[in-house]
């Protein structure tokens, strides 16, 4: 006999900015710098009609540059990058924009040896959404024939392409990190594919 799960509910309009402050930068942990290629991951969150969603919360969870998750279920947990935590949170501004500084997630093989493409998990919370929306973000232009158990769930090539963060340009900052853009369309013509949760 299992207990019924508690009901999910929307964050409403007033998710505190304080809870997102400082959480958009994943590139260090305990004063140590994360290994691997540091990147910017930016984009906007929009609803129907491409209207920006303000004060939406975007959270990500990803492996380190070597494809290791900082979690004991990962067989390589002991080798997790001491400078990388793997979780981040950002809040969208009035134009619906969010930004993370993170590392390019590493590819890894599953326990049966199947390859996983570099990816990160992403979820969106916002007023009007009684449940989180979850998707998986891949890197590249989607042109290469990539096989991945999550990517393979999306049959339509046009929808598949919307799961890729696009290499944008070098950012203008002093450190000029490679920038990737991932726009999130919760509802609309170019809708982001979301998974059953």
């Amino acid at each position: 006999m299992s207990l019924p799960t508690s009901p999910y509910c929307t964050i409403g309009p007033f998710f505190p900015g304080e809870f997102a402050d400082g959480c958009g930068d994943l590139t260090s942990r305990d004063g140590k710098q994360a290994r691997g290629q540091h990147i910017l991951l930016t984009g906007s969150v929009v609803e129907e009609g491409n209207r920006p969603i303000r004060n939406a919360i975007v959270e990500i969870w990803q492996p380190d540059a070597n494809g290791v998750f900082r979690h004991p279920l990962d067989p390589r947990f002991e080798d997790a990058d001491p400078g990388f935590f793997g979780w981040g949170r950002a809040r969208t501004d009035a134009e619906g924009r969010y930004a993370f500084r993170t590392v390019m997630p590493g590819a890894y093989a599953t326990q049966d040896g199947a390859p996983r493409c570099p990816h990160l998990n992403l979820m969106v919370l916002a007023i009007g959404l009684t449940h989180r929306l979850v998707t998986t973000v891949f890197f590249g232009d989607g042109a290469q024939p990539a096989s991945d158990p999550l990517l393979d769930c999306v049959a339509d090539p046009a929808r598949r392409a919307r799961m890729f963060a696009i290499h944008d340009k070098l950012s203008n900052g002093a450190d000029a990190l490679p920038a990737y853009r991932f726009d999130i369309v919760t509802r609309g013509e170019a809708e982001t594919p979301f998974f059953v949760d």
């Binding site: 207990l3 509910c9 964050i11 409403g12 303000r54 979820m123 979301f194």
Partner: protein
């Protein structure tokens, strides 16, 4: 956490996650809540296998996020207390087997007793309470238990609506040990007249499931510290046992 024995990290046990059952959850589309119609995906949600990536998740978050003391009814320990009904909120966080989820980070945010949030988007003409932020971050103990002291939030109007007042409620955001049991909700107070008309609370069809969004009262006590205690346990998704056949 100081002075307490460290609580071990989650076990490396395989946990099963079923999709949320609609009957236990809020509807996605809610009449008179226009954003639910402009924000929910128009395309069907896609079924996916659960891989290591989804089964893992941020753990030991209390090392990354600042954890508050249990009393958020004042800004500093011993400082002037916020105006309002002094309350304790307590309960347990567990999985579907009833097993405690230790070291789960809990974030709460709420209005003050006048129904006003400390937030740049709150346009309600109610006063800010200089002794109250309405924010708290806590971590569950070895038995999954949590407790914090606050003041009871007030009701407030939804400015985009011409009738809807939100009943008193506290927002909860909970990090279980997996990406699959990341959980966010709002918990309401028992016996509030506005509960009857709230669009969100009443978006849960099953009355028993709806009650899981409402605090339970506990027997009143009078002593050295006087407060009303409200209890809410949370069941996060995930089970490790195979249910027995009956």
């Amino acid at each position: 956490m100081r002075g307490q024995p460290p609580i071990p990290l989650p076990e490396t046990i395989q946990v099963e996650y079923e999709p949320y059952q609609e009957s236990t959850q809020l509807a996605r589309y809610i009449q008179d809540y226009p954003r639910s119609f402009t924000r929910n995906p128009s395309q069907p949600l896609i079924r996916r296998p659960l891989t290591l990536s989804e089964r893992t998740g941020p753990i030991a978050l209390e090392r990354r996020l600042a954890i508050d003391g249990e009393d958020i009814s004042s800004k500093e320990p011993g400082g002037p207390r916020a105006i309002g009904q002094f309350i304790a909120v307590t309960g347990r966080v567990m999985d579907e087997d009833g097993a405690p989820l230790a070291r789960a980070v809990i974030e709460i945010w709420q209005a003050n007793s006048a129904g006003k949030y400390v937030h740049e988007l709150d346009r309600h003409q109610a006063p800010i309470d200089s002794n109250f932020t309405g924010l708290g971050r806590f971590v569950t103990g070895a038995e999954g238990q949590y407790k914090f002291l606050s003041i009871k939030p007030g009701a407030y109007p939804v400015m985009e609506s011409d009738w809807w007042w939100r009943p008193p409620h506290i927002h909860f955001s909970i990090f279980g040990p997996s990406w699959m049991n990341r959980y966010v909700t709002q918990i309401f107070f028992p016996g509030e007249p506005l509960n009857e008309t709230d669009l969100l609370l009443n978006a849960v069809q099953d009355p028993e499931a709806r009650d899981r969004l409402i605090f339970e009262t506990t027997p009143t006590t009078v002593g050295a510290v006087n407060l009303l205690t409200f209890r809410r346990d949370f069941v996060l998704r995930g089970k490790r046992s195979t249910p027995a056949l009956d």
